[in-house]
Amino acid sequence: MDIKKELLPFILPAILLIIWYLLTDGLHLIPYYILPSPLNVFTAAWTLISNGKLFMHTSSTLVKVFSGIILASAVAIPLGIILGWYETLDRLSSLIISILRPIPPISWIPFSILWFGIGLSSAVFVIFIGCVFSVLVYTIDGVKRTDKVLIEAAQTLGANNWNILTKIVLPSALPYIVSGLKVGVSIALMCTVSAEMIASSRGLGYMILTASQLFQPGTVVVGMIIIGLIGILFDYGFRKAQDRIFW
């Protein structure tokens, strides 16, 4: 019974794979240049693995995603705690955050190229912009939601303001911060691929773009699948983290 439940999520992808095979190699209904067959994709993946390009592009994308997230967290978490704690600062900054937040990160690419050139730092900047606001907004929210009774309890146990910030507000906001990071990472992944298509010479986005220009649809699909898998891995990691944090 349990095994059946475990297998349930794999049924639809398997059916999809079969349909895909039938439409392409199986019954030759769709030509290669419209949709590559599973075999084309597999061959492309094999070539990319054996010549090391897949590893190179994937690791380049991952480095960018991680640098962007770490940079965004380093800015957004402390700033969010300060803004969530001091109401005046929150009011002061709320309008500018609300204006900047909905701007698609991709629209910063022209400036990021101007400021950082083509390459790693330019992409990292776009990813930073992409996830900094969600982490910030979630952190502010988490800090504000700290139960007042817990703060008062800590005060009557001898906690000073610093103790309250580090021992009460931070742990109580942590689940919200993790949720913010989760949202941030999915945005970051999208930004990375888009940024790599324009302002980079490496990474999965770059790989997809060049493959499409060189007419290699199999490679395009390989890139798409790898991005999806990275997304799943991050999601899994965050779910594990949340299981530990949510009491």
Binding site: E152, T156, G158, S172
Partner: protein, 250 residues
């Protein structure tokens, strides 16, 4: 004298009007006394307790704790809240040691030993690694009380701490409270709206009234400890306190 409340008044501004929560309250509490503040809801008993803790400031008058003006919350005046106030991300042991670890007066090992000793005394030794959400309401309040007492608080302020606990457990908790109160020689100010609870616990009962919140009467409880709820004297005195309280408004 532990706590000295002098001419304290406090009003709150609500949507439509100012409302006088407390007017000209005077009260002296001696060291080691267990005082119950008893009154109907809206009589300002919780507000008074919060002001003693330093969690709220009086509009007029002053409150002194052993001669010193109360200006803010401090570990000198522990507080047990009506709502559960354990830190949900810490297990029972870490909750209980919270104040001790802050002060850094003793080593971690000493704190741990003390915490384990007291958890054992109230029958919570098996739950030391449990998290608050795994505990019953009564257990949570017991942990909260130990958390304050272990912090060597000379004054413990309790705001209807057992009101959410069922009657049987409430009686056990009251009995345990008397036990730890005697052992720690803590001064306790205990807010309740339950006459039975006040008569069981208190050395003195401060009877309060509302509109505006004020002290109506202070009565000494003439009963020997341990008190027997079924005894003639207990029931008679309970009637007396009920009469002093006057008509309850639902």
């Amino acid at each position: 004298m532990a706590i000295d409340i002098k001419n304290v008044s406090k009003s709150f501004i609500t949507k439509d009007k100012d409302f006088m929560a407390l007017k000209d309250v005077n009260l002296h509490v001696d060291d080691g006394e267990l005082i119950c503040l008893l009154g109907p809801s809206g009589c300002g008993k919780t507000t008074l307790l919060r002001m003693v803790a330093g969690l709220e400031k009086p509009d007029e008058g002053e409150i002194y704790d052993r001669g010193e003006l109360v200006e803010g919350p401090s570990k000198e005046r522990g507080f047990i809240f009506q709502q559960y106030s354990l830190f949900p991300w810490l297990n029972v042991l870490d909750n209980v040691m919270f104040g001790l670890n802050l002060s850094g007066e003793h080593s971690k090992e000493e704190n741990l030993a003390a915490a384990e000793r007291y958890l054992e005394r109230v029958g919570l030794a098996d739950f030391k690694y449990s998290y608050p959400h795994e505990l019953s309401g009564g257990m949570k309040q017991r942990v909260a009380i130990i958390r304050s007492l272990l912090n060597h608080t000379p004054v413990l302020l309790m705001d209807e701490p057992f009101s959410a606990v069922d009657m049987l457990n409430r009686h056990t908790l009251q009995e345990q409270l008397i036990g730890v109160w005697k052992r720690f020689e803590t001064t306790i100010l205990f807010v309740t709206h339950d006459v039975d609870e006040a008569v069981y616990l208190a050395d003195k009962i401060v009877i309060m009234d509302k509109r505006p919140g004020r002290i109506k009467d202070v009565v000494e409880v003439p009963l020997e400890r341990p008190r027997q709820r079924e005894s003639r004297e207990f029931l008679d005195f309970q009637d007396e306190v009920e009469k002093l309280l006057g008509v309850w408004e639902p």
